[in-house]
C-alpha cells in the first residue's frame, strides 16, 4: 500500500473522528492502530491539510474537502454493495474510495437515487449530482406513494428519522431489496410484502423509497408526482375467478 493511500485513510479517520467530536492524536492512533505512522501526520500537516495544536487535530478547508470526497465515495460504495448487491458492505467498500473517481461516484450516486445515509446511518456528504439532480434521473427511485395500484417494486432504502419506525419496518421485512406490491392507496396505503398485507399511513409510505422497474416508462408518465398522498380512487387491481382453484 503506497503512502498516498495511507494518507487518505488518515484523512478519512479524521473526518469520522470529527463527526464523533473527538479529533485528537490518541483517538486517531487508536483508530488506525498499527497503520498509524507519525510521518503521515507530519506530511498532512506540511501540505496544510491538517492543523496540529497540541493533542488536537483539525482539518483545514483543503483537507476537509479532500476527506469529504473520500468519505462520500466510501459511503456511496457501501450503499451500492448493500442495496444493489445485497452483500456484506464493510469489507469491500473500504478500498472503494481509492479506486473511484468523482465521475464514477456521481454516476453511482445518481443510480442509487442520491442516498442520504450510508448503511450504518452516517450522513453521506452531498455531491454535485445531488445538488443539480435532474428530474428524470431522480425517477429511478421514487417514494412508495408514487407507485400505481397493483405495481410491484423493490425497496431501495427507507429514510426515516425514527429508529423505532425503521426497526418496525425491518421486522415486517420492509427493507432494501424486498419486493413490495401496492394494493391500495386510500384511505390508507396497503402493501404486500413477503406474504403479509401491511397498512401504512401516508407519512410512513413516503419514507419508503423503491426502485421503479422500467424507469423510462414511468418517466414518460408524469401524472402522480405532484400530488403525493392525494386520495386515489383508482380501481383496485383484481380479477374475479370462479370455479375450482387449479394448481400447476
Amino acid at each position: 500500500m503506497n503512502s498516498g493511500n495511507e494518507r487518505d485513510e488518515m484523512l478519512e479517520r479524521l473526518w469520522q473522528l470529527r463527526e464523533r467530536g473527538c479529533s485528537t492524536v490518541p483517538a486517531l492512533r487508536g483508530e488506525l492502530a498499527d497503520r498509524y505512522r507519525e510521518v503521515d501526520l507530519a506530511e498532512l500537516s506540511r501540505d496544510s491539510l491538517v492543523v496540529l495544536a497540541g493533542e488536537e487535530i483539525s482539518l483545514t478547508a483543503a483537507g476537509s474537502a479532500h476527506a469529504e470526497r473520500l468519505i462520500r465515495a466510501h459511503r456511496i460504495g457501501e450503499r451500492l454493495i448493500h442495496d444493489v448487491l445485497g452483500r456484506e458492505f464493510e469489507s469491500g467498500a473500504c478500498e472503494f474510495e481509492h479506486i473511484l473517481n468523482t465521475e464514477i461516484v456521481e454516476g453511482i450516486c445518481t443510480l442509487l437515487g442520491h442516498p442520504r445515509e450510508c448503511p450504518h446511518g452516517f450522513p453521506i456528504p452531498e455531491g454535485e449530482c445531488c445538488r443539480v439532480s435532474a428530474r428524470y434521473v431522480r425517477k429511478l427511485i421514487v417514494p412508495l406513494t408514487e407507485l400505481k395500484i397493483g405495481q410491484s417494486a423493490r425497496v431501495a432504502y427507507v429514510y426515516t428519522k425514527s429508529d423505532q419506525q425503521l426497526h418496525r419496518l425491518t421486522s415486517l421485512q420492509i427493507r432494501p431489496g424486498r419486493l413490495v406490491r401496492l394494493h391500495q392507496a386510500y384511505p390508507s396505503y396497503v402493501i404486500e410484502c413477503e406474504g403479509a398485507s401491511i397498512a401504512l399511513d401516508d407519512e410512513v409510505a413516503r419514507s419508503i423509497n423503491v426502485w421503479v422497474e422500467g424507469a423510462s416508462a414511468v418517466a414518460a408518465d408524469p401524472a402522480p408526482t405532484d400530488s403525493p398522498g392525494r386520495p386515489n380512487f383508482t380501481r383496485p387491481h383484481w380479477r374475479w375467478r370462479w370455479g375450482p382453484r387449479d394448481r400447476q
Partner: protein, 654 residues
C-alpha cells in the same frame, strides 16, 4: 442439554414450563387450546391475546405449565405487550419455548427465531398455516428447516393438527439450539459484553446482543429485575465495545440477521408458479376500499340486523310464550297473592326478572349475535374495517394504530381498553379509552340494542346508531381540542388474511362465550332482581322514582318504570336490556322512547370489568374523571336525543 441438567433437576418438583411465542395472529392461542385442552378465545386478528394465560396440564407422567403469550416480533421490543413476553422469558425461566411460525410470513417469523436461538432455551418450531401458504405458492421443507436450524420442526397444516407429534417431542429431551453467528468481529464483541455481565443476569448471550443493539428499555428492565447487569467498574468497557461499531452495532447485527433469514428461507422454500389473485385477497381489498367497502359494511350490518331481529327476536318470543309464560301462569295459579308470589313472579321476581330475563329474553339474542360476530372475527374482517375508518379517526385525534382498539371495542370493551396500552401517546390513549367506554356498544349491547329497536323498524335502529356515532365524534373532537397536543403515532398495521370461517371453531367459540355469559350473569341477574325486590318492598324504590321523576319523565321522556332498568344497569347491562326489551314488546315503550332507552343503555351502562381496565391503564385520577364524565354526558346526550326526536319525529317519520 447438560448445561440445563442442574437447575432442571433441582426444580423437578415444579412443572415443566412451556411458553408458546410467535408473531401476532400466528395461531398461538389455537395451539394453547389444542395442547392444554383449555379454551381461550381465538380470533383471526392480531391483539386477541394481550395478557399471558397459563394453564397446568398433565401429559403421561409429566406436569406441564403452558403459557400463551401476546404477539412478539423480536426481543428488541416495539410495544408494551411485547415487553410482557420478554420479561416472562427473562424472569420466569421457561424450560422450553414453542414458536408458532406462520408459513405465510415465514421470513418475519424467522427473524424472531434468530433472536430466540440466542437464549439458550430449548426451542421447538410449529409451522402453522402451511396449507394456506401452499395455496399462495410457497412450499416449505420442514425437514430441511429442522436440519438447518438444529431444532425440531412440527407441521400443523390446519388448526389443531400436528399436536400429537408436538406432544411427543415435548415429552422427549429437546436440546437448546446454538446461537446465531454474527461474524467474527461481532461474535467477539458479543462474548466480550457477555463476560462483563453479572452472574445474576439470565441468558447472557442474548442479553449481550440486546445491550449491543442498545434497546433503550432493556437496560432498565435488567436493572430493575436483577440489579445492575454490568459487573462493578466494567461500565466503561461496555461503552468502549459499543463505540467500536460507531454506535451502530444494532444496524450491523440486524443486517446479519436479515441475511441469515434470507439464506435459510432460500434454502427451505420453493416458490411455485406466480399465484393468481385469489378470491380472499380480492375480497380483502374490497373491504378496505373507500367505495366498495361501504356496501360491504352495509351488507354485514344487514346480515347482523336480520339475524338478530328475524331469527333471534322470533326465537326469544317463541321461548317466552312456550317456556316462561306457562310457568308464570302456573305459579300464579298455584300461589295465593302475597309476598311469595311477588318474590317469584312479581315485577321484580326471581323468575321473571332473574331467570327468564336471562334465559328466554337475553340468551337467544346473544347466541345468534355471538355466532354472527364470531363468523366476522374468523373471517378477519374487523382490522380491514379499521383501514376504512382511519381517516375519520384522524379527525377526532386518533391517528395511527389507535383506530384498532376502537374497532375492537365492538367486540369486548374490556379487551379493547387493554389493547390501548400499546399506544405511545398518552393523549391518544385517553381519547381512545374514553370513547370505548362512552358510546361504543360491546357485542352483547349491540345484539340487544338491535333486538329492541328492530321491533319498531330499521329506521329506529339507524337513528339510534347515528346518534351514537355523532356523540362519539363530538366527544372525540372536544377531547382532541382540550387535551394538550402530542405527536401522534405512526400507523403501521399488519392485516390478517381473509379466511373462510371454520364453522366448528365459530360454534365452539360461541358456545364458550354463552357459557361464560351464563356462568357470570345468571347469579348477577338473580341477585339484582332480589335487590330490586327488597328496595321495592321497603319503599326505597318509590322514593327513588319520586326523586328521579323530573329527570326520567321530563328530561328523558321515558316512563317512570325505566328507573328499574337504570338501577339494573348498575349490576349488568344485559339485565337492563332484557327489561327494556320486554317493556318495548309489551308496548310500555314506544318507538321514540326505545331509541332514547337504547342510547341511555349504551352510554350509561358501564361494565365493571371495563371500568377496572380503565383504572389500570390510565390511573385512578383520569379514570374517575372519565367515569363520572360519562355518567353526566350520558344524561345530557340522552336528554338531547329525546328533545331532538320530539321536535323532529314527524319529519323523520318515526
Amino acid at each position: 442439554m447438560d448445561a440445563h441438567a442442574g437447575p432442571r433437576e433441582a426444580a423437578s418438583l415444579r412443572p415443566k414450563r412451556i411458553d408458546i411465542v410467535g408473531l401476532p395472529n400466528s395461531g398461538k392461542s389455537q395451539l394453547f387450546n389444542s395442547l392444554t385442552g383449555a379454551y381461550k378465545l381465538v380470533s383471526n386478528y392480531p391483539l386477541t391475546t394481550v395478557e399471558v394465560a397459563k394453564q397446568v396440564c398433565f401429559e403421561q407422567d409429566e406436569c406441564w405449565e403452558v403459557a400463551d403469550t401476546p404477539g412478539l416480533h423480536g426481543l428488541y421490543i416495539q410495544s408494551e405487550e411485547e415487553m410482557v413476553v420478554r420479561s416472562l422469558i427473562f424472569e420466569e425461566a421457561p424450560d422450553l419455548l414453542v414458536q408458532c411460525v406462520d408459513a405465510n410470513r415465514f421470513k418475519e417469523s424467522l427473524l424472531l427465531t434468530a433472536d430466540l436461538m440466542g437464549l439458550g432455551i430449548p426451542l421447538v418450531l410449529v409451522l402453522t398455516a402451511v396449507g394456506e401458504s401452499a395455496q399462495r405458492g410457497l412450499e416449505l421443507d420442514a425437514e430441511k428447516l429442522s436440519r438447518l436450524l438444529g431444532m425440531p420442526v412440527v407441521q400443523s397444516p390446519e388448526p389443531g393438527r400436528g399436536i400429537a407429534e408436538l406432544t411427543r417431542i415435548l415429552l422427549g429431551p429437546v436440546s437448546a439450539p446454538l446461537p446465531l453467528r454474527y461474524g467474527k468481529s461481532l461474535d467477539a464483541a458479543i462474548s466480550r459484553v457477555a463476560g462483563l455481565l453479572s452472574p445474576r443476569c439470565p441468558h447472557p448471550h442474548e442479553a449481550a446482543v440486546l445491550l449491543l443493539e442498545n434497546d433503550p428499555s432493556f437496560r432498565d428492565f435488567l436493572s430493575s429485575s436483577f440489579g445492575n447487569p454490568v459487573r462493578e467498574g466494567r461500565e466503561s468497557e461496555l461503552e468502549g465495545i459499543r463505540s467500536g461499531f460507531a454506535g451502530k452495532a444494532g444496524m450491523t447485527l440486524s443486517a446479519r440477521r436479515n441475511r441469515w433469514v434470507d439464506e435459510v428461507s432460500a434454502a427451505v422454500s420453493t416458490s411455485m408458479d406466480a399465484p393468481r389473485p385469489r378470491f380472499s385477497e380480492t375480497f380483502a381489498q374490497m373491504c378496505r376500499h373507500p367505495v366498495y367497502g361501504l356496501p360491504i359494511l352495509g351488507f354485514f350490518l344487514g346480515v347482523v340486523y336480520f339475524m338478530v331481529v328475524g331469527v333471534a327476536g322470533v326465537l326469544s318470543l317463541f321461548l317466552t310464550t312456550t317456556l316462561s309464560d306457562p310457568v308464570v301462569r302456573g305459579v300464579s295459579a298455584l300461589l295465593p297473592p302475597g309476598l311469595w308470589k311477588d318474590l317469584l313472579i312479581g315485577p321484580h321476581g326471581l323468575l321473571t326478572l332473574g331467570l327468564f330475563n336471562s334465559l328466554t329474553t337475553v340468551l337467544p339474542i346473544l347466541s345468534v349475535f355471538f355466532l354472527v360476530f364470531g363468523l366476522l372475527e374468523d373471517i378477519g374482517y374487523l382490522p380491514n374495517l379499521a383501514i376504512l375508518t382511519r381517516r375519520l379517526g384522524a379527525k377526532i385525534g386518533i391517528t395511527g394504530n389507535a383506530i384498532i382498539p376502537l374497532v375492537l371495542g365492538f367486540g369486548c370493551k374490556t379487551m379493547a381498553t387493554m389493547t390501548a396500552r400499546n399506544l405511545q401517546s398518552r393523549k391518544e390513549k385517553v381519547i381512545v379509552i374514553a370513547l370505548i367506554a362512552f358510546a361504543i356498544p360491546c357485542s352483547a349491547q349491540m345484539g340487544l340494542s338491535i333486538a329492541i329497536l328492530g321491533q319498531h323498524g330499521l329506521a329506529y335502529f339507524a337513528v339510534a346508531f347515528t346518534f351514537l356515532v355523532l356523540a362519539e365524534v363530538g366527544v372525540g373532537l372536544v377531547l382532541n381540542r382540550v387535551l394538550p397536543a402530542e405527536k401522534g403515532s405512526q400507523f403501521i398495521q399488519e392485516l390478517p388474511p381473509i379466511r373462510m370461517p371454520r364453522i366448528s371453531a365459530v360454534a365452539r367459540k360461541t358456545g364458550y362465550r354463552l357459557l361464560w355469559f351464563l356462568r357470570e350473569a345468571i347469579p348477577i341477574f338473580l341477585i339484582a332482581s332480589l335487590a330490586m325486590f327488597v328496595i321495592d318492598k321497603i319503599g326505597l324504590l318509590a322514593l327513588l322514582k319520586q326523586a328521579l321523576k323530573p329527570l326520567m319523565t321530563g328530561w328523558l321522556g321515558l316512563p317512570l318504570d325505566m328507573v328499574d332498568a337504570l338501577l339494573l344497569t348498575l349490576a349488568r347491562s344485559e339485565a337492563a336490556a332484557g327489561l327494556i326489551l320486554r317493556m318495548s314488546r309489551e308496548g310500555t315503550l314506544n318507538g321514540v322512547q326505545s331509541i332514547v332507552a337504547v342510547v341511555l343503555l349504551v352510554t350509561f351502562a358501564q361494565c365493571f370489568a371495563n371500568i377496572a381496565a380503565v383504572f389500570k391503564e390510565l390511573g385512578a385520577r383520569t379514570a374517575i374523571i372519565i367515569v363520572v364524565g360519562i355518567y353526566l354526558m350520558s344524561f345530557v346526550l340522552t336528554g338531547a336525543v329525546h328533545e331532538f326526536l320530539v321536535l323532529t319525529a314527524g319529519v323523520l317519520g318515526l
